[in-house]
């Protein structure tokens, strides 16, 4: 199904490629499923303190699975296994600081 990403709203699983940089191993490209989208957020004035009310949700993992791969070309004394999380489903939600590094996108 073709989706126009410029007009897309909501939160969906999207292919994502990254380079693993683990000390003692050569960089390895990994393609997996991650999350991308646009969630509804708002900020509005209110009559009572603090005079602003907001609603903030971000597109993040809903269900996920840990995938472990073996990295090629690692030094002999280095653990060549690498684990990462693959998204099975995504949803607009809060950023859980216990499991997630929450940053502002550039």
């Amino acid at each position: 199904v073709m989706v126009n990403l410029r007009r897309f709203t909501g939160c969906a699983v999207r292919e994502f490629t990254f380079v693993v940089r683990k000390p003692g191993c050569r960089g390895a490209h990994i393609t997996t499923d991650a999350c991308w989208g646009r969630c509804e957020t708002w900020e509005k004035p209110t009559l009572e303190p603090p005079f602003l009310d907001s609603f903030q949700r971000v597109c993040t993992y809903n269900r996920s699975r840990v995938v472990t791969v073996t990295l090629p070309n690692c030094d002999a004394n280095v653990d060549d296994r690498y684990s990462y999380v693959r998204a099975l489903s995504c949803a607009c939600g809060t950023c859980d600081i216990t499991t997630t590094e929450c940053v502002t996108s550039p």
Partner: protein
């Protein structure tokens, strides 16, 4: 409000101010909020993030949220019965919006 449109836009709504609980004097003013759909994504954290978080932060969420970038104060005139008077009440309104840091979506 035009619905599901990407971006972060001014959205008008009416605010009604009451002088007291019996609503002796009251006034209604059109003000603006910022409402929209800003981009966000979540993906496997880099190895440096895994190390720094002792392998607890295995997801990185990079996001922006629709927030007020410029605001202004507006005066609301209150109408009272039988010639009584009530001072104007100041309220905030958004003047401009942008997709910026999500300060309140972290738990």
């Amino acid at each position: 409000y035009e619905g599901l449109t990407p971006g972060c836009h001014l959205h008008p709504f009416n605010v009604t101010v009451h002088s007291d609980r019996r609503s002796t004097c009251r006034g209604t003013q059109l003000v603006f909020a910022c409402v929209g759909y800003c981009e966000s994504s979540a993906f496997p954290s880099r190895y440096s993030v895994l190390i720094a978080s002792n392998f607890t932060h295995n997801i990185t969420s990079a996001s922006r949220c629709c927030t007020i970038s410029k605001e202004a104060k507006v005066k609301v005139r209150l109408d009272c019965p039988r010639g009584r008077h009530h001072d104007d009440v100041q309220i905030l309104t958004a003047r401009a919006c942008h997709c910026d840091m999500c300060r309140k979506s972290r738990y």
